[in-house]
Symmetry: C2
Subunit: 306 residues, 2 copies
Amino acid sequence: MIVSSDRLNISDIVSADLSFSELIENSLKRYLSGEDEHYDKLWQSMRYSVSAGGKRVRPLLTLEFCKLCGGDPASAVPFACGVELIHTYSLIHDDLPCMDNDDMRRGQPSNHIAFSEDTALLAGDALQSLAFEIMLCEDTLSRCDAKAAATAAFTLANYCGADGMVGGQVIDLEYEDKHADESVVSKIHLLKTSALIKAACLMGCIVAGADSEKLAAAEKYAECIGLAFQIVDDVLDVTSTTEELGKPVNSDADNDKSTMVSLLGVEECLRRADSLTAEALTALDAFDGDSSFLRDFATKLSKRRN
Amino acid sequence: MIVSSDRLNISDIVSADLSFSELIENSLKRYLSGEDEHYDKLWQSMRYSVSAGGKRVRPLLTLEFCKLCGGDPASAVPFACGVELIHTYSLIHDDLPCMDNDDMRRGQPSNHIAFSEDTALLAGDALQSLAFEIMLCEDTLSRCDAKAAATAAFTLANYCGADGMVGGQVIDLEYEDKHADESVVSKIHLLKTSALIKAACLMGCIVAGADSEKLAAAEKYAECIGLAFQIVDDVLDVTSTTEELGKPVNSDADNDKSTMVSLLGVEECLRRADSLTAEALTALDAFDGDSSFLRDFATKLSKRRN
């Protein structure tokens, strides 16, 4: 009944001998290969933003945690791609005139500039639907237990919705130009950034059938690297040049926006980022497998300079 | 790990002796009972549109088809509510200035007028996430087979996304003020209206474990009543008064928009609506149970005058 089109079948991709990065790129490409004579610009607009050069941090975390928990990363690919689609939709909507009104994203025109405002809005909406479509389609369920797939998709819905990423956006907009105390700034970081990273890590564990102790450890790791990432982001906004950062610096100060740096100062922020990174590394002790990628990743994140 | 909050638990509601309408209203209320000191206006904005007096056509179809296929309607309630949340998000985004720019919806200020444009955008986004959250949460899976839940949620994602409702929106905007032939207008109706009705009917059948013959019949019924509904809508736009219709009449003609009426005339449209309704009734012959509600519903839909 339900037309399950070729764009939802990645069995040939996941059965080939590919790196995690290749698995993610090839699968995203397949999932976004829709076309239609009447609404083709919708698919073009969706592809435009997904292929705009993101680092695929979240999908890599999903696959790494799946592997770390002894699962088959092939079964986690749809969930890895799902979290990337949610991340991409949030960026498209974030850039819209009624939100941050950003004309540029990753050095290219934002989606609503390259296409139009209505197309960008709808491309974001369709990317969110597509995320759930790929995580729950027949092809995905042929490699993943249905209960695990449902629970992983639930986790993403839970962390990207009102009590997760979107809630964080609302607070962020609310405090765009007024004073926020440390607890509010922390809450924004937790919801706006850590929530989706948590979903990415948890989904990898869930698909691998990890126990509750491992799920708790993965969530701790995700929370810490998410918070560290945002603190370093705030620091770079005041200490970098525009050239180094690839985007305007001092944007927060120009907006009178409260940040961890304006509240605590650069030195204390760097100390906290180090301490959060140490906490993330400790959380990984709960796993028996090879966590070297995740350790390197957490360390590099807090030492990054752009 | 995943915080499963009280707002996702409707076990007390579905175990009480309630009518389908009460099941839907009480469950929607519970699912939308989120609150937070910092982003409370997000939940308020979501509640505002969901409680704005829709007729709950889609959720009723889900529960009726579940019952007709011999399933327990209690297990279908989250899917009934899920399709209503998707419908509501689409109305909020539809009304935004960059889309139809409608200040009023169902006799009340549109969401972005009552709140703000950014809040309305985010409320729509969060309603879409919430739809998938409620269909896949632990409470839902306690009453519904995980494979059926995943497949039902997939169906909704499939029909509300790029190749469904959103694709239909894109074509509709494209032909807002230029000539479309009959095949294009039909395609808009199929995607923009019938797709979500199909998802509503199919989800009820899927949760009840219906076979492929019944799924095909439910899809046929949904397609026919969706098309009949849109044709009658076009007719009412030229034959009603604003008072009868509760919204501006002749809006399509004012826009130079091609409609079934402008292409075929009122008489041929009414003939087609009758013939589609007859086809919908024939499709119901595939079911053994009591289909009187669905038969009445299809008949009333084509005879409605507002």
